[in-house]
């Protein structure tokens, strides 16, 4: 990642790299919930959007400095996720998918409808972040901020996965009843993963808003939730690096396809279907397995 700036010729490529990093932070968090704990969420864009709007509104309408509004927004979303997560995470499988989907839709509809506060469907401008009087701007500076954050998130996730809590999460994924019988507090661990992934989504959302200076309700939409889950599944569930790779590929792709606007949906849909049909476990685990098999081949 430190070497990447050498390969990035201009501000536009930096911008794409920053977006990749921010999406990767969301995906690493979401992967803890979907990939490791096995709990599907089709509404994480709601948390992303809430984080972005909460920080933007606190800063723009109430005059909070963004250095304060951003952590406040993340904390607020975490508390909210804890409150709604408690009843919702008792649901399983498709019912959980439906509940999270409903949550996401409620958030995006509220953001689009309360136009006096949020600016409605047209979105609102967001003030830049300033720390000790220095305004954070410029693609290069943001690249390093987001890069550091991503490394910290990956480090956190990797440590968590190898900790007793991480093993508990994986046990839940295997068989919830068996895990509970083995003395694992299923509800508490699921809730923990849910709140952590929601907080990471909110953090990335707020940073995206302050970085780009603009936010619209589409960031909280069902389609964005789907994009996030697709990144996780495309890269490979239960693989932190898979989540990063998934975010990188699926964030860059639309930029590459920007010239063929009419074919963007068709290409994206076909790509999603083909990857999942031929690599149902996702890109990184499939490649790992292929590499492994090649290495083990007797010479």
């Amino acid at each position: 990642m430190a070497a990447a700036p050498l390969a990035l010729p201009n501000n536009y490529t930096y911008e794409v790299a920053i977006l990749v990093g921010l999406n990767a932070v969301v995906c690493v968090g979401l992967n803890l919930l979907v990939g490791y704990a096995g709990q599907i969420s089709l509404g994480h864009a709601g948390f992303f959007g809430l984080g972005a709007y909460a920080s933007a509104i606190l800063a723009a309408r109430y005059g909070w400095p963004p250095a304060l509004s951003l952590p406040a927004a993340v904390a607020g979303v975490a508390v909210l996720a804890w409150l709604v997560g408690r009843p919702i995470l008792r649901l399983r499988g498709h019912y959980l998918a439906m509940a999270t989907l409903g949550l996401g839709i409620i958030v995006s509809q509220v953001l689009a409808t309360e136009d006096r506060i949020t600016g409605g469907p047209d979105g609102m401008t967001v003030v830049p972040i300033a720390v000790f009087g220095i305004t954070l701007s410029g693609e290069r500076l943001w690249y390093w901020i987001v890069g550091t954050l991503l490394i910290a998130t990956v480090w956190l996730a990797q440590n968590l996965i190898d900790s007793p809590r991480g093993r508990a999460l994986r046990a839940l994924h295997g068989a919830e009843i068996a895990a509970a019988a083995a003395g694992i507090d299923a509800a508490r661990h699921k809730l923990g993963a849910f709140v952590l992934s929601a907080a990471l989504a909110a953090l990335a959302g707020a940073l995206t808003a302050h970085y780009s200076g603009f936010i619209t309700p589409s960031k909280a939409s069902f389609l964005h939730s789907i994009e996030l889950v697709t990144m996780v599944v495309f890269g490979g569930m239960a693989s932190t690096f898979g989540a990063v790779v998934g975010a990188a590929v699926l964030t860059t792709l639309p930029q590459l396809l920007a010239g063929f606007k009419d074919y963007e949906l068709v290409t994206l849909g076909a790509l999603m279907m083909l990857t999942m049909i031929f690599m149902p476990r996702g890109l990184v685990p499939t490649l790992e397995k292929a590499l492994d098999a090649a290495r083990r081949k007797p010479r």
């Binding site: 979907v34 599907i40 009843p87 919702i88 008792r90 649901l91 499988g93 498709h94 019912y95 998918a97 439906m98 509940a99 989907l101 409903g102 949550l103 839709i105 409620i106 509809q109 509220v110 409808t113 068989a175 919830e176 009843i177 068996a178 069902f222 389609l223 789907i226 889950v229 697709t230 599944v233 495309f234 569930m237 009419d262 074919y263 963007e264 949906l265 068709v266 290409t267 994206l268 849909g269 076909a270 790509l271 999603m272 279907m273 999942m276 049909i277 149902p280 476990r281």
Partner: protein, 291 residues
């Protein structure tokens, strides 16, 4: 009964009947395969759009509708053959992503082939509204309700009185046992996608004269149909119909008495509450989990 209440009930039942048809599509595919088909809404879009395009091309209306339902069914069969069958045995999330990918692909194709214009479809039998108790009732509403009723009756007959229907029920109860008595599970899967797609396309053609149609109407209709199926308890036929009608009425009453801007939100708020208090839907029962 006040005219406003009656008006809300009429519009709620109309939309609810459409949701019920979409929800039945979800239930049929779920029963045959345990897959939630997120492309269900696109069948609705195809039904409405194809009918409108065929009418534009000069075909008579009844023929256009039949052709549109046929096209929807064909797309459903292709989806099963080309995308779902090759991925059999994949994890649930993978299958969900495949059907979501299919829905994005179909939406993109519709925008390419039929462009992004909003299209009207003429009402099946005239536009002159009937006046009942001070509320207006469009003739198309009667078409929607009548056709839905007929479709539900036909489905009941199919699942309870024909061998193919009983075979599908058998597969939904116990796949392995059904296979052992000689039922082709693959054929059942194929039929379930064709049937669901045809139901969806029929719903699309029915509602298009009331609410117009466009390349992107499938998203919300699909999600509402999914919500209705969940509200009723996934996999339950009567549950899907009850869930659809309930969702339509909640929306119409909410829009009429509380706030029309939050029409879509009411449905999901009620749904969340229902899920929290009735985790298996109105008609569903809890699954026994094996470890």
């Amino acid at each position: 009964m006040s005219a406003q209440l009656l008006q809300s009930l009429f519009s709620g039942l109309t939309v609810g009947a459409i949701y019920a048809l979409v929800a039945l599509g979800f239930a049929i595919i779920y029963n045959a395969s345990r897959i939630i088909n997120f492309a269900q809404g696109e069948f609705v879009m195809i039904g409405g759009m194809a009918a409108a395009v065929f009418v534009d091309a000069g075909l008579p209306l009844p023929l256009s509708i039949v052709a549109a339902v046929g096209l929807g069914m064909l797309v459903g069969l292709l989806l099963e053959k080309l995308a779902v069958e090759p991925a059999r045995g994949a994890p649930v999330v993978t299958l969900i992503i495949i059907t979501i990918g299919a829905s994005i692909l179909l939406r993109g194709l519709a925008a390419l082939v039929w462009d992004k214009k909003i299209r009207p479809l003429p009402a099946f039998s005239g536009e002159a509204p009937l006046m009942i108790g001070g509320a207006t009732l469009l003739p198309q509403t009667l078409w929607v309700l009548g056709t839905t009723l007929a479709a539900v009756a036909a489905l009941w007959w199919f699942f309870n009185r024909t061998l193919s229907g009983k075979a599908m029920l058998a597969v939904s109860h116990n796949r392995l046992a059904a296979q052992l008595v000689g039922i082709s599970v693959r054929r059942v899967l194929l039929v379930s996608f064709g049937l669901s797609a045809a139901l969806g396309a029929l719903a699309g053609a029915l509602i298009a004269p009331i609410s117009f149609t466009a390349w992107d109407v499938g998203v919300m209709l699909g999600l509402k149909g999914f919500a209705a199926a969940m509200l009723g308890g996934i996999g339950s036929g009567p549950g899907a119909v009850a869930g659809g009608l309930a969702l339509g009425l909640i929306e119409a009453l909410g829009a009429g008495y509380l706030s029309s801007a939050y029409k879509d939100v009411f449905a999901f708020v009620v749904l969340l509450a229902a899920l929290v208090f009735l985790p298996n839907g109105l008609a569903g029962h809890g699954p026994a989990e094996r470890v």
